[in-house]
């Protein structure tokens, strides 16, 4: 268990965390500003990945593919908000869960119709396919390092967007007192479309970035969606800072859990059962983390007490 291996796992945890942040940012804003549970957020992750795969094939350029994923998910988000989401803001959570659950079916089966049932492949651009060698003999993939950088840059941009620009201020005002910001002349519904589409676009970009490492297939978004829910509940619903901290926390906990727990259990059990128990506990670790956070801080780390 060398130092370099440990640090490489930390970097992997960081990369997973940053990607989770892209997914959670939109989800927490939609949740915080509009109080809406959006199960279909994972579908935008998928749409982004498929759009990237398509455009990578058409144009051969990875950059255009990334832009395509952002724009496609943005467009899909805006369309969904205008046609369906707008009608269920005032509904209770049961209707929201059901409607967005149905949206998953629509998006997944729709994509399967268009692209067929087989996974597509999106290859890493060869400029990033090799890896760095860092001090302490650490070798780390350039592509994953790029993801970490892109994620952090977007986090900074989002932080400024939310805290410094007028749109950001109005979003936060909407979170605090939706009726009052309306009575002061701000068209809240237009604000919702912007927030919803921006969130979808970020999810689409995350889908494309990860699509290059894993495969692009129908249903790839849902497991990540559930992780994103864990992130925003830990971070505190509605808080971008909470989403960032929560994402890194979950990313590192999950990665380190899978890495350390099997070897930890190998002291008590034989290797075979140690890895099985270790990995099963690891996969449960973030849910245990979430349950404990909810019990001690019911509205999350940075959540605002309603």
């Amino acid at each position: 268990m060398t130092i370099s291996l440990f640090i490489e796992q930390i970097l992997n945890g960081l990369q997973f965390g940053v990607m989770l942040f892209l997914m959670s940012a939109g989800l927490t804003l939609v949740f915080g500003v509009m109080g809406l549970i959006n199960l279909a957020h994972g579908s935008f992750y998928m749409i982004g990945a498929f759009a990237a795969a398509l455009f990578a094939e058409l144009t051969g350029s990875f950059l255009i593919a990334m832009i395509a994923s952002f724009v496609a998910a943005l467009f899909a988000g805006a369309l969904t908000e205008l046609i369906i989401i707008r009608k269920i803001y005032k509904r209770d959570h049961l209707d929201q869960v059901l409607a967005t659950f149905a949206l998953i079916l629509l998006f997944s089966e729709g994509i399967r119709w268009i692209f067929g049932a087989y996974p597509l492949y999106l290859d890493i651009p060869n400029s990033l396919s090799s890896s760095f060698n860092l001090p302490f003999e650490i070798i780390y993939s350039k592509y994953r390092m790029m993801i970490i950088l892109v994620g952090i840059i977007i986090a900074i941009i989002l932080y400024f967007l939310i805290s410094k620009t007028l749109i950001g201020i109005r979003i936060k005002a909407g979170q605090n007192d939706r009726e009052m910001i309306g009575a002061l002349g701000v068209d809240v519904t237009k604000l919702y479309t912007i927030v919803f589409s921006l969130g979808a676009a970020l999810a689409g970009l995350a889908g494309a970035l990860i699509g290059a490492i894993q495969s692009v297939e129908v249903g790839m978004g849902e497991p990540v969606l559930i992780l994103a829910f864990v992130v925003i509940v830990i971070g505190g619903i509605g808080s971008i800072k909470g989403a960032f901290v929560g994402a890194l926390l979950v990313g590192i906990t999950d990665t380190m859990g899978r890495f350390l727990l099997p070897s930890f259990f190998s002291y008590f059990f034989d290797n075979a059962s140690a890895t099985s128990i270790g990995s099963s506990i690891a996969s449960m670790s973030i849910y245990i983390l979430m349950a404990t956070v909810l019990i001690f801080k019911p509205s999350g780390l940075y959540g605002v007490k309603k």
Binding site: L94, A102, L105, E109, G110, S280, S283, P298
Partner: protein, 324 residues
């Protein structure tokens, strides 16, 4: 348009008759299909008790459906291969279905007590998330536990044994499940008309008022959650015996979603709602499934239309006094 009691009776009669028709037209597959409808109905009735009547939106009821399924699968597989169960328990499983049902109900009730105790401290969106989290915990646990088949599941080859009844005969097994459906419908009908039932319905609408007349809503909701977990758990046990196979998919969040869809499509807060929901779901799966394997696209569309416009579920289409 008819009254609800009449409609309920018709539903039961139709369910009662189908296996005989299937026997006459020599369509055994139809009996197995109806058994699946009955089992899904039981799962739905369990959820509906706290969702429709108690207003608790649990998005993790697959946890109980899955546990019931795995308890049955594990006990049966040990019995069939007569291996020792757990190193400290000198017990080599059992294939006696009555015993298995008892164990399933006890374990599911205990798990429901645990999950309920923690989840019911939160409310609204957080309750939905924490129930989802607990189910996902169990889902990932089942996937990464090789002893019982891990991701590719566990098959038990032969249905568990019911005294004097050959459970391998589809009609016999169907009537076992049908009886369970009747038992739970009766039990829930009694409870919902009792003082406890009235307080549970009051908790759904106004917990502040329930507190102000001297009752702690938490206890009411926890007891109901345990009942609900036990019923859905037993459905899971029957499901394993029906398929003679159990896999992590019964613990997945998609499963929780499907049970919820049955309840809502059927008609929330209507005792027999989940049955019609299950019938509709299976018919759609069989008919559209045949046409295109993207049948779930149309299911999605129908659910959205139902949420946006119909709201009251299929039951209300037949009822005179359809309250929305």
């Amino acid at each position: 348009m008819i009254k609800e009691e009449k409609l309920n009776l018709i539903i039961l009669l139709v369910l009662f008759v189908i296996p005989f028709l299937a026997y006459l037209f020599n369509e055994p597959y139809l009996t197995t299909l109806t058994t699946k409808i009955v089992i899904l109905s039981i799962a739905g009735i369990g959820l509906n008790f706290i969702l429709g009547y108690g207003g608790l939106v649990s998005f993790g009821h697959a946890a109980f459906f899955g546990i019931g399924g795995y308890v049955t699968g594990i006990l049966a597989s040990h019995a069939q291969n007569s291996e020792q169960m757990f190193f400290f328990l000198q017990f080599d499983g059992s294939n006696q279905i009555l015993f298995i049902w008892l164990i399933s109900i006890i374990i599911c009730s205990f798990i429901a007590l645990l999950i309920g105790y923690f989840s019911l401290r939160t409310s609204g969106v957080y309750f939905i998330m924490i129930t989802l989290a607990f189910a996902q915990m169990l889902y990932y646990f089942s996937i990464s536990w090789p002893a019982y088949g891990g991701e590719d599941g566990l098959s038990i080859y032969v249905r568990n044994v019911f005294p004097f009844f050959n459970t391998m005969n589809p009609i016999n097994f169907y009537f076992i499940c049908f009886t369970w459906l009747l038992i739970f419908l009766t039990i829930l009908k009694i409870i919902l008309n009792s003082s406890f039932g009235l307080v549970l319905k009051a908790c759904k609408e106004n917990e502040e008022r329930v507190k102000s007349i001297g009752i702690n809503p938490f206890n009411i909701k926890l007891i109901s959650f345990v009942f609900s977990g036990a019923i859905t758990g037993l459905a899971g046990s029957l499901y394993t015996d029906l398929n003679r196979f159990v896999s992590p998919s019964v613990l997945s969040w998609q499963m929780s979603g499907e049970i919820m869809v049955l309840v809502i499509l059927g008609g929330v807060a209507r005792l027999y709602g989940p049955i019609l929901g299950a019938v509709f779901y299976i018919i759609l799966e069989q008919t559209l499934g045949g046409v295109s394997e993207n049948w779930q696209f149309w299911l999605g569309l129908i659910i959205i239309l139902e949420v946006l416009y119909a709201r009251a579920g299929i039951m209300s289409l037949f009822l005179k006094d359809s309250k929305s």
